[in-house]
Amino acid sequence: MKAKFIFIFLLQASLGFSGVVSDTIYINSGFLVTATDSFYVLSYNDSPTFNQSNYVINIDKDDTLLLSIKNNHSQKHNFNIDGISGIDTSAILFGSFKTISISGLQPNAYIFYDNYVYNSYLGLKSVLVVKDYNYKHYVLNVREFMTDWNDKLFNSVTPTSSYLPNCFTVNGKSYPDTKTDSLSKIVGNVGDTIIVYMVNSGLYHHAMHTHGYHILILKSNKEPHKIGRSKDSIALYTDEVLMTRVVPDQPGMYPIHDHNLISVTNGGNYPGGMITMFHIMP
């Protein structure tokens, strides 16, 4: 009997070190609203209520993730994680859910998505962060839309026109809404170490530019030759995830934005779109 208690204690202690994290994400549909546009999107959220910003899953290295995916959308969906094989990718029907268990992930950021191209285009592409550090971190998930495509998909019509995006977002919001968005606005103090994951979940490539500070590239899932470079302009390819580190050396408010001019507009008006801010205090 005593041995049994010791075994259970040791089992719980070992689980306690590694940790089992239970999380639930909901596949919701709704309308993304920027200052100048509103259009149909899909989103991964942490509640059944639609939120235009995708939910980011955070776990620590060695954690086991028990993830439930609930489908609140009227069509079937599947669930995939980039670079991870062996998970159940079968369809999740409307109103149903599935639970998957993931463990042994290396510290990094992984894109999870629905592999039907229009579902991931509409927004079903977010990030699972596995961390092995105790710094503050941010995920800047950039994505562009062609609102005409979204209108067509809302009416169950397959878009046939060329892809010419006219709406640009960071974590589901466009500037100036990003200015007050706690997910996108990078807040810290001089000398802090801040980890910034830059993720491109859109169909276009982007070129992120930082004012005020250079950032050091720590990891890239697409272009490992970038690792170790300290830059203020970084190419961010479709489906690329960059793990970067910034240690601000001066206080101030400085923008981070796509260097492509069309991407920093809302409805053709500058400034807007893919702009967010550093807000660094002394």
Partner: protein, 179 residues
């Protein structure tokens, strides 16, 4: 010393662009931020974000008769009417309802209006219909029932907003005061 010259045309263009108003999505955020009263909403110029096409068909009427040569003649009469409200069409609010809905008239007749609303607070005032089926909406316009054709359901309201900042600077040199 190098002097930069700007042509008068360039200066006019810059001034004109800087004073442009921009179309924004009309929603509760705007309504609440600027504390817009029903009367102020009625004073706004609204614009449609997408085309709206309304269609109605009169029931077919069958008439029978005979011609002078004794032929049985069956004639069928039907008519259809289409109302097209193109993207960017100007409209005026003629009624404000309690449940986050407003009536917008695009014609001179105040009774010819469409209802737009955001009862679930999704962030935009969309075209409202009694029922949407296969992309088609059934709604009333000018006292008659119409079908809002597929694509019309994408339409929401925009308004134009212009920010004017006035800055007044005064400098006063104080001469001092002696005992």
């Amino acid at each position: 010393m190098k002097r930069i010259k700007f042509s008068p045309l360039f200066i006019i263009a810059v001034l004109a662009l800087s004073s442009c108003s921009r179309a924004i999505v009309f929603n509760d955020k705007v309504k609440d931020e600027y504390n817009l009263s029903p009367n102020e909403i009625k004073g706004l110029q609204f614009y449609t974000s997408h085309d709206i096409m309304l269609e109605r068909r009169e029931d077919e009427k069958k008439e029978k008769g005979t011609s002078s040569s004794g032929t049985l003649v069956i004639s069928e009469k039907s008519s259809s009417e289409t109302v097209l409200i193109e993207r960017g069409t100007k409209g005026v609010c003629v009624k404000v309802f309690d449940d986050n809905k407003i009536a917008i008239a695009f014609e001179a007749d105040d009774n010819k209006y469409l209802v737009f609303g955001d009862p679930n607070r999704i962030g935009r005032y969309s075209l409202f219909a009694a029922e949407w089926k296969n992309g088609k909406g059934i709604l009333e316009y000018g006292g008659q029932n119409y079908y809002a054709m597929p694509g019309s359901g994408n339409c929401y309201l925009k308004i134009k907003m212009k920010r004017i900042k006035k800055y007044k600077k005064s400098v006063k040199k104080v001469g001092g005061r002696t005992v």
